[in-house]
């Protein structure tokens, strides 16, 4: 394994991301240089600090602050610093739910943000696709004919009577009641069937897929009433190629990776703790 391979594999390690994130936070605070010991009673507003306040102001208001405004910003900063130190000294951060939630959100954000800009490899995506073939593929596709017989108990009786006759005739088109749904569908996915006939009918049809084809059966219920159906073919198509569904897989990969990153980062921290739960 070359060094670059090693680095590449390391770059996929959640822990490495987390440690890098931690380093970034450390460097940020080291650069910011203001995170003094809360116990200290000296507040120094140095030149870089004033510049930072001025920069933040101009970024927000798109102009440089006046001298009075700078003085105001400094006064306000001192007040915030004093109150913050005193609050920390009093331990107010520890039992304040709002502060605790904010800190938690910040940590979660840090853990998640690294995944947002990451590019998955083809192998990553292929693995994701292989693990969820049903999600990215169409599932079984079904070709079938149907005859609609209306609603209610009468429809079921009509269906049974017609079923007995249908065995002896192939001339089925035009039988039953008209309905603005297809009399026949070719290689229709579960979603296609559900869109036209509703979930009950689609489910019933799927359960017929294992039975012999070319036979009229029924009554099969739908949101519209009762049908007779004849399955002609039910096949499981080849799973999709990555190129066909890449966009969706990548979106899902990203969403899942962001969650995983956060979970791993949390686990890495949690591992450093001993947790005792004493239930009453």
């Amino acid at each position: 394994m070359t060094l670059s391979d090693r680095l590449r594999s390391l770059s996929h390690e959640p822990l490495a991301h987390f440690l890098l994130g931690g380093l970034a936070i450390f460097l940020f605070f080291a650069w910011r240089g203001t995170e003094v010991d809360p116990a200290s009673r000296t507040i120094v507003i140095d030149e870089p600090q004033v510049e930072r306040l001025a920069t933040q102001f101009s970024r927000t208001f798109r102009r440089t602050p006046t001298t009075q405004e700078i003085d105001g910003l400094i006064r306000d900063y001192i007040k915030e610093e004093v109150y913050n130190r005193e609050a920390l000294r009093l331990g107010l951060d520890r039992d304040d739910t709002v502060i605790r939630q904010r800190l938690r959100q910040k940590m979660e954000f840090l853990a998640r943000s690294s995944a947002e800009s990451e590019q998955p490899s083809d192998a990553d995506l292929q693995r994701m696709l292989d693990a969820n073939p049903a999600k990215y593929g169409s599932g079984a596709v079904i070709s079938f004919d149907q005859i609609y017989l209306g609603e209610g108990a009468i429809a079921e009786a009509r269906a049974k009577a017609l079923l007995a006759r249908l065995g002896r005739t192939d001339n089925w088109r035009g039988l039953g009641d008209p309905l603005s749904v297809p009399a026949s569908m070719e290689r229709a996915t579960q979603a296609d069937i559900e869109r036209q006939f509703g979930d009950i009918f689609a489910g019933e049809l799927a359960s017929l897929a294992s039975k012999p084809a070319e036979v009229w059966r029924g009554p099969v219920p739908s949101g519209f009433g009762a049908h007779l159906v004849r399955l002609r073919a039910a096949t499981l198509p080849q799973p999709p190629k990555l190129s066909e569904v890449r966009q969706q897989v990548e979106n899902d990969w990203r969403a899942a990776t962001i969650d995983k990153r956060e979970a791993a980062a949390y686990q890495a921290l949690l591992d450093g703790y001993t947790v005792r739960i004493e239930k009453p």
């Binding site: 927000t60 798109r62 910003l73 306000d76 900063y77 800009s117 603005s180 559900e194 519209f224 969403a255």
Partner: protein
């Protein structure tokens, strides 16, 4: 890091497709998959053109923490955890989505929330930041204050300054990057868009703007804001023109919540009070082919004051008739005519009779206007107007004022609606083009399949064969203009198929509007086909009796033992006068079903006061077909 993500996405942007009629297929994705266009629209596609995420200033203040990505994933059918921690997944995914965050202060509330408090010097902003940090209940007060200050034009300048051009550009390009990633031609369409939230004095003149194009073009502009001196709706149309000229792309605008505009959405005069001119009417019609007629904040199809003979006209008006959106100005009866869509269609004919151009030639869609990032539209999955009223025990009876005054209660809000689009494929181009030709309809949530064709030689025999093909070849679909006739009455192929996973249909009505020789408009509602026609005979007043009611309020259930699965007919206008300009649209009514408040009572033990609306008849409104004697 965010910026980097945007840049990487930009590199992977797929070439945009073009829908050139006459070509059999358009190039879909980079991988070369082709999206097949059907010869004519065979499928109706379902979507929401009006969804807000945490990037909307008010949605964030309401507590919403779900961004565009979660919104798209939810619409696409994935499971998403709502801000309040409830797992949510659509039983039936949508086919398309327009995220329409407010252009004003895009992302600003989030920015204010994340700003160091020492940087927040404006007292109002500091107060809002404190409210947000004090928790969701407190945070929601900001909305009321925003609405009231907005109505008075007193939102602090510092608030708008939060949204510097650079900050807006960052958030817009990040947003367009996400939308681009979720646009899958042929499977799921993610549109670029935004909301332009103009509301002078709290009178709602909001528009959703939709782009036909991809990130490459959308990134050349920023969402157009409604604040500032001289901003009115004409400036929005100018912005759309500039976009089209600069990029070669297309954009359309959809007004919504005319019901809280206090009569200013569909005026007989220009917004400045001057007389309506052909040029102004033409400009409006060219940019605004549709109106959002139904959504969470009420229904704007018809009002009983305007349509006293229409017993179904009072749907979703309770609460909304009290005043404008911020409830800073009350409403009087004279204002309804400028607020409701049926009247707008009539006014359009009147103005056309005078000026030669119809400014209100509007097709109809429904959408949610949800601020939860969750595009739910059914009564049994209603996630609320905003994060503060995601499912809970009190939301039905809680005061729900967006502004300061008393008046609106939780139950006044509707679990409505969706946009249905008849298109040749599920792509940005095909759906957008269908919207431009108004081949669309509104529903309050149910996915009933509705067709309407107008022509001169249809017969009942057409229904026995391929009547859809007949409709397209010998007539025009919803949204169109009747071709030149022979002077005999026009005929309409009317078909409504129930939602296969919903309630049966009560009736289909034709709503006709026309202008007499004196230039005055009229309307009439015809029951054209209904369930159990053999037994439900029209009374002496000509009206078909009510269908009945199977709702069990305690169980929040109903039974499809009344009504019909499908209602189809060929209808001839018995009152046709070839010299009168007219429009015709369908209203389809379901049998009575439980409103979302009954599901809340069942699931969460919500207490409901007597006298609130618990049962309703959900409905669809098609785009009209117009008749012009001169055409």
């Amino acid at each position: 890091m965010r910026k980097l993500a945007g840049a990487v996405m930009a590199l992977t942007v797929l070439g945009s497709c073009t829908d050139q009629s006459g070509t059999a297929a358009v190039r879909g994705t980079e991988a070369g998959q082709a999206v097949t266009l059907s010869a004519y629209p065979e499928q109706v596609y379902w979507g929401d053109t009006h969804l807000h995420t945490a990037n909307s200033l008010d949605a964030f203040a309401f507590g919403n923490r779900l961004g565009p990505e979660q919104a798209l994933r939810f619409a696409r059918g994935e499971k998403v955890r709502s801000t309040t921690g409830i797992d949510a997944q659509l039983a039936r995914p949508l086919d398309f989505l327009v995220i329409a965050d407010h252009s004003d202060s895009l992302g600003s509330t989030r920015r204010l929330y994340e700003m160091p408090s020492s940087q927040v010097t404006d007292p109002v902003l500091r107060h809002w930041q404190d409210l947000m940090k004090a928790g969701p209940r407190q945070s929601q007060k900001i909305i009321g204050e925003l609405m009231v200050l907005g109505a008075k034009g007193e939102i602090p300048k510092a608030y708008y300054e939060l949204g510097s051009e650079q900050a807006t550009r960052e958030i817009w390009t990040e947003h367009t990057g996400i939308v681009e990633r979720y646009n899958e031609p042929g499977r799921f369409t993610a549109f670029m868009g935004f909301e332009f939230s103009l509301q002078p004095n709290g009178n709602n003149l909001h528009r959703v703007v939709i782009f036909r194009d991809g990130k490459d073009k959308a990134d050349q502009v920023l969402p157009f804001g409604s604040q500032g001196a001289g901003i009115n709706v004409e400036r929005l149309w100018d912005y759309m023109d500039r976009y089209e000229q600069a990029t070669g792309g297309r954009a359309l605008a959809i007004p919504h919540n005319s019901n809280v505009s206090n009569g200013t959405m569909f005026e007989l005069v220009r917004p400045d009070g001057g007389p309506m001119t052909a040029a102004y009417a033409r400009k409006r019609a060219a940019h605004e082919p549709l109106v959002e007629a139904t959504q969470i904040k009420g229904d704007s199809e018809a009002h009983p004051f305007l349509s006293p003979n229409d017993e179904f006209a009072g749907y979703g008006v309770a609460g909304w008739e009290l005043g404008n959106i911020s409830l800073t100005l009350p409403k009087d009866n004279s204002m309804f005519a400028g607020e409701y869509v049926r009247e707008a269609l009539k006014r359009g004919l009147e103005i056309e009779a005078r000026t030669g151009v119809n400014p209100y030639k509007l097709g109809m869609i429904g959408s949610t206007d949800s601020h939860t990032s969750l595009a739910t539209s059914d009564d049994d999955n209603f996630f609320g107007k905003h994060t503060g009223n995601e499912p809970n025990t009190i939301r039905a009876m809680e005061p729900m004022n967006l502004g300061g005054a008393d008046g609106r209660i939780g139950w006044n809000f509707l679990a409505s609606g969706y946009a249905a689009v008849w298109a040749r494929a599920n792509t940005r181009e095909a759906l957008f083009d269908a919207m431009m030709r108004r081949e669309v309809y509104a529903t309050t949530g149910p996915r009933m399949k509705v067709r309407l064709f107008g022509g001169w030689d249809f017969t009942a025999a057409d229904l026995a064969v391929d009547w859809v093909k007949a409709g397209y070849t010998r007539g025009v679909p919803m949204g169109g203009d009747l071709r030149k006739g022979s002077g005999r009455a026009p005929l309409f192929i009317v078909s409504a198929l129930k939602d296969p996973m919903g309630a049966n249909l009560d009736r289909v009505q034709m709503v006709k509007g026309w202008v007499d020789a004196g230039g005055k408009s009229h309307e009439k509602v015809f029951d054209v086909v209904w369930s159990d026609m053999a037994t439900r005979k029209p009374g002496s007043d000509g009206k078909v009796p009510a269908v009945g009611n199977t709702v069990n309020e305690a169980k929040a259930s109903y039974a499809n033992t009344i009504g019909a699965a499908e209602l189809t007919t060929v209808w001839r206008d018995p009152t046709f006068d070839p010299g009168q300009r007219a429009f015709y649209y369908l209203r389809v009514l379901e049998i009575p079903t439980p409103r979302w408040v009954l599901y809340d009572a069942l699931r969460y033990g919500a207490k409901l006061d007597a006298g609130i609306e618990k049962v309703h008849q959900e409905r669809a409104y098609t785009s009209p077909i117009w008749y012009d004697p001169k055409s």
